[in-house]
Symmetry: C2
Subunit: 121 residues, 2 copies
DNA sequence: CAAAACAGTGGAGTTTAGTCAACGGTTTTG
DNA sequence: CAAAACCGTTGACTAAACTCCACTGTTTTG
């Protein structure tokens, strides 16, 4: 598919998609019609883009993601010894989730406190 | 306590603390010794800083945090009707945690795939 | 009491993750 | 077949969250 369709279907802007491609997060091929310069994006780019969104929610930077996506997609060893790297990311993400959950509890308490006492004498 | 001690105990730089104060996230008083310009930070600034870190892990921006910290600390109604605002943040954080957990699973699968098959014919 | 460590101020600089504008080609569509 | 919609490239720009620097004044310490 071409970039416009990918943009529509992913909800991201064309600029963002090109930015991701420059960063090596997604890939495209020259497109079937070699007379123009239009690129062709594979169907599974949509899945990759979902993974990118998940990773960002987990606080992973694009730089780390470039490394990680390789690991996640082609879990092919001896390309990269990144087991330790992976474990570091896992620890990092777990810590972040724990913090986020702590914060979520605070939010819920605050909302309860706001909703409960219309006891305002 | 003075800013240096707060920096040491919180693990943040003095610059970051001053930045947070400019943003209205923490507060200080003129300090007991009024002859100098040194500020005094209350003990509970450390707790606030923990909450800030939690909020950031939850993907909350400093701008939103300025609003939220007021709600979280003094859960005093009729200052602010922010129940809807709070609920929006709650939804946002829950969605982010869900994504982060999805990503975490992917990381763990990738690590398992990397660790398991030293079957390398 | 002098040197080292610490504090405040102001303003400039950095990084990350995009976003925008301008331009010249290419398809699509009415 | 012309206008509208789309595409790629280049390069400048932005917002958020810090970070650094230079300078001056204040405490602490050996």
């Amino acid at each position: 598919m071409r970039i416009g369709e990918l943009a529509r279907r992913s909800g991201l802007s064309r600029d963002t998609l090109r930015f991701y491609e420059r960063q090596g997060l997604i890939r495209s091929t020259p497109g079937p019609d070699a007379t123009n310069s239009y690129r062709d994006y594979p169907e599974d780019a949509l899945i990759t883009l979902e993974q990118i969104a998940d990773a960002q929610a987990a606080g992973i930077s694009i730089a780390d993601l470039t490394v990680l996506l390789g690991q996640l997609q082609a879990a092919d060893p001896d390309t990269f010894d990144g087991e330790a790297f992976l474990q570091d990311r896992i620890d990092e993400v777990e810590a972040r989730i724990a913090r986020a959950e702590r914060f979520l509890e605070g939010l819920k308490r605050a909302k309860a406190a706001l909703a409960a006492p219309p006891v305002r004498r």
